[in-house]
Symmetry: C3
Subunit: 209 residues, 3 copies
């Protein structure tokens, strides 16, 4: 059989797909939380809050999947919608003082965003690598998909993008992506590399909060 002319994706194995799917769900959940909290802070309705949760939750992963040519992960997934709806409902029914130190200080929003940043930076890199993308572009993919959820959330809300704050943000995503790509290149097991890489970015971002 002749070799294909166009470079096709090297499809990941089913077990890797399952792990990536689970991590995607966690990333969706924490980003959805940050979106719902921003909507709560803006005193929006439950439906708008759900919309913010959904868009922020799936934004990064959707852009990643479109760029690497994978089917968009959440469109045929039975769990993503309930997760986003559930997160929005929880934020809606709980008093805002559980989430906010004051009307102007919502630390949980930043922390959820930080967890999502680390998780998606690793996920973006790992999924791109699994689809046969070279390490350096895969790392960039991780940075983009880690940052894009928060950017979309902020643009939708009409507030200055989180990138513009005088803090480490892109750098934290870059650290997670770099650790993930480096671990893969060195042949270390994913079960070790992924948590360390995600924690690295999260810690750096957390230090900046």
């Amino acid at each position: 059989m002749p070799a294909p002319i166009l470079p096709g994706p090297i499809l990941p194995t089913p077990s890797l797909t399952a792990v990536l799917g689970l991590l995607d769900l966690i990333g969706v959940g924490v980003f959805a939380l940050s979106g719902a909290l921003l909507a709560a802070r803006l005193r929006q309705t439950l439906v708008t809050m759900t919309f913010f949760a959904l868009i922020t939750g799936v934004g990064g992963g959707s852009v990643r999947d479109l760029l690497i040519g994978a089917p968009v992960f959440w469109v045929r997934d039975p769990l993503v919608a309930p997760v986003c709806l559930g997160v929005a409902l929880v934020v809606w029914v709980t008093p805002s003082r559980w989430w906010a130190a004051s009307n102007y200080d919502w630390p949980m929003l930043d922390w959820a965003d930080a967890v999502g940043l680390g998780a998606y930076a690793v996920l973006g890199t790992a999924k791109a690598l699994a689809y046969g993308v070279a390490p350096v572009p895969a790392m960039l993919m991780g940075v983009i998909t880690g940052c894009v959820g928060g950017v979309i959330r902020d643009v939708l809300a009409g507030r200055p993008s989180i990138l513009m704050r005088p803090e480490l943000y892109v750098t934290a995503a870059a650290l997670s992506s770099l650790l993930c790509a480096a671990g893969k290149t060195l042949g270390l097991p994913n079960a070790l590399v992924w948590p360390v890489a995600a924690l690295g970015g999260f810690a750096l971002r957390g230090a900046a909060i």
Copy 2:
């Protein structure tokens, strides 16, 4: 024949495709009108007005098609470009008092947006269902594609996104999408479900204007 490994789209029938194409064209037209009116209000040139008409008109449908893995509907369509250009031209040659109550009050902009919202929420849901997406994600697809045209238009113009107004917007799109998915699940005919669903969302949005 063995089952396919990856879940492929269940391609819609040619007649359904034709109906969806016609509805897409209507959605494009009204969203294009809202984009052209915003550009007129901002006293932009004809070319920028056409650009706003195009981007607002095709934005929602493009995002929908990318997410469900369909070819982007307008790229190979011979009618979308003339429709957007025509809408921009009509707005350009007609006096702005036809469209605006005053310099600061452009009710037609909101009404065109409301029609587009209802039409695209139904279209997004229906096309996603036709591609084999499950009802709940298909509904979310309807909400996203109904809202995204207006969001892109507002972000391009640098004004606060329509989502941020203290009015029902996402809720109206959610109503249309819900009615569309419910009708499909109950097996009702599209010729009944689609107009009712679109009108429902439009009426709810209209009441908020």
Copy 3:
């Protein structure tokens, strides 16, 4: 062999692909420069600057490739990442007075944007034509992909989009796209059409700066 049911892309020849790839790299470079300069003006860190360079550099081409159904050009390309990183590094290590007339006046940012606008308008049109898109939609594709890099850059930075300035911007992209599509329709050689079309849009935009 039966005709295919769905309209598939007419894949460009390898030599045309090579030329398009080279032009893409130039477009990436100049748009990356405009992104890096905006980040420099906002006194961002090196990593954020690289992120801006990357997103602005690849934004237009990514949207174009997604819309026409081509694999996203930079994901499997070994040169785009080094180009963006290199551009950001050069801007980082050089004194800002090389690039800026004053703190509030960065003419190089607008000039790099103008070169990118012309180059990407032609590239967008040419690549869409090469994939079998009809001339008018191909022209619209050129306009969109020429403008979208700068729009994404400005939205990320939270400043009013360049479209909103009272200057010729979309019109310049439209001129380049029109010349490119017209040249192709008349059967003129690409080696003549592409430079003329890119220069036409650049000159019109330059006159407005």
